[in-house]
């Protein structure tokens, strides 16, 4: 269908220059989003098992297992994904995606371009890495031109960048409303509302969506209306959602007066805008120093967020499927609590595979954590 409309399909991940894809008449497709929908629809077990039967270890990212299993079985809440003409990915987000997309590239015999982003040890500037990343972005344009048979339309590119920036700025303002007490939006709402900024930034659809959402949130703030009726605790959510438990967990927390007011995950798309003057340079900086968040910067950000969002506590999702964001959580929790005095709870779960955690155990741990916060309040 895409080819009939003169368009091409590009598989991408969260931190790739999708604005380029739109300007090149390519439709960006996110296998991660597809997998998340499988998780939220509670179809993980069936499709992930198909991947495991192909030899993919259960220790691998559940998104990858769901996506590969979905290709194998044809089971999909979206009737599958179209075959890619190009697979483009940056490992700024994680190395798992590169390996997962290598598998997809072999399945479809589709070309793959990895934008390799050397991770910084302490976030220090690395001019050699800047040249390396930038040269890969320049080459990516050439690859796209070869596949589509057309040159990059600079006017279309500039317009896409403008729309992307507008959507990103609006999304940032959406997230900032969480700082108001009571918060007019919870992280659960953000998990749903983030779809356009992830998958459609660079389009008018995303801009219109966030304009409407922001208007609604401003209205709620003006009326003093919280997202939950009786906001007693304001917590931070670290890491990806537990997609299969979205509804259960949101009701559980709401029942206890807990509002998850902000999350590092949804903030990841808040500052994605690039300028028209040097978009490749801006992406280079973003991928090297922003999206690739090293631990110290993460701790500093959490300390700042704790104050701005008037947090009572942190919920850290130690996510078996996402080692990249999870492995330093014990150190982050320790450092943030030392610096702020605000407690944090680590809950062991998985973003997509319900076989790897017990919701009852999660709930018990959260209840215990609330007791701790409540007792601290009494002491104060």
């Amino acid at each position: 269908m895409a080819h009939q409309q003169g368009k091409f399909i590009a598989y991408v991940n969260a931190f790739t220059p999708v604005e380029l894809a739109y300007a090149m008449n390519m439709i960006p497709i996110y296998p991660e989003n597809h997998a998340a929908i499988i998780g939220a629809r509670r179809q993980t077990v069936e499709v992930a098992q198909a991947a495991e039967n192909m030899g993919y270890s259960m220790d691998l990212c559940a998104y990858a297992r769901c996506d590969i299993g979905s290709i194998k079985t044809g089971i999909s809440p979206t009737w599958g994904l179209p075959k890619p003409d190009l697979i483009m990915i940056s490992n700024s987000q994680c190395g798992t995606l590169a390996k997962w997309f290598e598998v997809i590239s072999r399945i479809y015999d589709a070309p793959m371009v990895l934008i390799d982003v050397p991770q910084s040890g302490r976030g220090e500037r690395d001019t050699a890495a800047e040249q390396y990343v930038r040269s890969q972005l320049e080459d990516l344009v050439g690859v796209m031109e070869n596949i589509t048979g057309r040159s990059l339309d600079q006017d279309a590119f500039r317009e896409t960048i403008r729309l992307s920036k507008e959507a990103s700025d609006l999304w940032t303002r959406v997230l900032e409303t969480g700082a108001v007490t009571p918060s007019p939006i919870t992280v659960f709402d953000q998990f749903i509302a983030m779809a356009p900024i992830v998958a459609q930034r660079g389009t008018q659809v995303a801009v219109d969506f966030y304009k409407n959402l922001l208007a609604e949130l401003d209205q709620r703030v003006a009326e003093g209306k919280g997202a939950i009726e009786n906001e007693r605790f304001r917590l931070f959510w670290d890491n990806l959602p537990i997609w299969p438990e979205l509804r259960r967990l949101s009701l559980f927390l709401e029942d206890r007066g807990i509002s998850l007011v902000t999350s590092i995950y949804t903030w990841a798309w808040a500052n994605m805008a690039v300028g028209v003057e040097d978009p490749l340079g801006d992406w280079t900086t973003q991928y090297l120093y922003t999206t690739n968040m090293h631990m110290r910067r993460r701790v500093d950000a959490y300390v700042e967020i704790a104050e701005k969002y008037h947090l009572d506590g942190f919920l850290y999702h130690s996510n078996r499927s996402c080692k990249y964001v999870s492995q330093d959580i014990p150190e982050v929790r320790r450092a943030v609590t030392d610096l702020t005095g605000i407690p944090g709870l680590i809950i062991e779960a998985d973003h997509n595979d319900p076989r790897l955690y017990s919701p009852e155990t999660l709930e018990n741990h959260i209840d215990g954590f609330l007791d701790l916060i409540s007792s601290q309040r009494k002491e104060d």
């Binding site: 290598e102 040890g121 014990p330």
Partner: protein, 378 residues
């Protein structure tokens, strides 16, 4: 010296590398630099006057590390952290963690937080090794690393010193390749376990000493053994894990004709060229090495080249030693196995390390694998 004694220094260097490093340090006053294999350019550390010591996770009981890193982490990272937390790494003046995967990236952050007084270096290795820009990036990174090592030891590394180190390490690798070749001709004396012990200890002992010790090995007896009954095996993996795996392979009649283990043949396969800039030589050697699973090439070529390497080795079977929780290895294995299947080469994947199968079970699986390939089954 008896034949048995000739192997002893290598065994000691492999089993107690930190004790040996401590002795070296008190004798020479030099700096000791720990590193997590693979692909840390030891020659640069050596040229700076320090002793490089490879650390790996096999056989370390984890008790403290889980308070700092989750249990779904590969044993290599967890064990290094464990050793540090229990004070075993006090001898180190610096630690080098190469960027290979998400776990090594995170481990560096945790390490830097847990051991702020150690000189911690994160070696940023490019993943896109077939891309021309990777070469110039790696050159810049190795140059930065050389400066860092020079700062550590207080001795700026000059080109001639680095070239001297390249010469020494090339000689050592040449000798180790000779030992590897002996395993092919005399597998009962030059067992896989012994030959890999030679390679593993070379990553931990002072390289000049190690090279000298090798002179005492039983090179004189050059008669080829009848190895017809042995089952030729190609091994892909990170480290030889669990401990004792090589002894099991020897005792079951496997003959390791080639391996891609990073503490195995992969570390001795190629020398650095001596006819030019030594940093360039190290970069070119790195990029020409058998790609580590975390490195990226055209995806179809990764499989094709692997199958081709196995074919060239004439191995009749392939063993994957996949560390549990190592995503790069686990993503590769199914397609690599499929490629082998099409080539008519049987293979077995063993998930090793933390939470992996116990040694007894691994022995049974290998025994069954061998019987299946040999057609010995009733």
């Amino acid at each position: 010296m008896t034949i048995q004694d000739a192997w002893q220094p290598f065994r000691e260097a492999l089993e107690a590398p930190l004790k040996k490093a401590r002795e070296w340090k008190s004798k020479t006053g030099g700096k000791v630099v720990g590193h997590l294999v693979p692909d840390v350019p030891e020659e640069i550390i050596h040229a700076a006057g320090a002793l490089p010591v490879a650390l790996e996770g096999t056989g370390v009981q984890i008790t403290r590390a889980q308070a700092h890193i989750p249990g779904y982490t590969c044993n290599n990272a967890m064990a290094a952290l464990e050793l540090g937390l229990r004070g075993d790494l006090d001898v180190l003046d610096a630690m080098v963690i190469p960027y290979l995967c998400d776990t090594t990236r995170n481990l560096f952050h945790i390490w830097d937080h847990c051991f702020p007084k150690m000189n911690n270096e994160f070696l940023r290795l490019p993943k896109r090794i077939g891309y021309p820009g990777a070469e110039s990036y790696l050159r810049a990174e190795f140059t930065r690393f050389m400066e860092a090592m020079g700062n550590l030891t207080g001795s700026e590394v000059v080109e001639s010193e680095l070239t001297e180190s390249l010469i020494l390490y090339n000689k050592s690798r040449t000798r180790l390749r000779e030992a590897y070749a002996r395993h092919q001709r005399q597998p009962s004396v030059w067992t896989a376990e012994r030959v890999q012990m030679l390679i593993g200890s070379s990553l931990r002992a002072p390289r000049a000493d190690h090279l000298a010790w090798m002179d005492d090995l039983p090179w004189e007896n050059n008669a080829s053994e009848d190895s017809e009954s042995r089952m030729s095996l190609y091994v892909r993996g990170k480290i030889w894990d669990p401990p004792g795996i090589l002894g099991i392979l020897d005792s079951l009649g496997f003959q390791v004709v080639r391996d891609e283990v990073v503490t195995g043949f992969r570390s001795i396969a190629q020398d650095a060229a001596l006819n030019g800039d030594p940093i360039n030589a190290l970069v070119k050697r790195h990029l020409a090495a058998t790609p580590y699973p975390g490195y990226h090439l055209k995806p179809s070529e990764l499989v094709e080249r692997f199958v081709e390497r196995v074919r060239e080795s004439n191995a009749r079977s392939v063993l994957f030693l996949n560390p549990k929780f190592c995503e790069a290895a686990a993503f590769d294995a199914p397609d690599f196995q499929e490629g082998l299947k099409k080539a008519g080469i049987p293979s077995l994947v063993l998930e090793t390390s933390a939470g992996g199968a116990p040694v007894g079970q691994i022995r049974i699986r290998l025994e069954a694998f061998r019987e299946m390939i040999a057609g010995d089954l009733p």
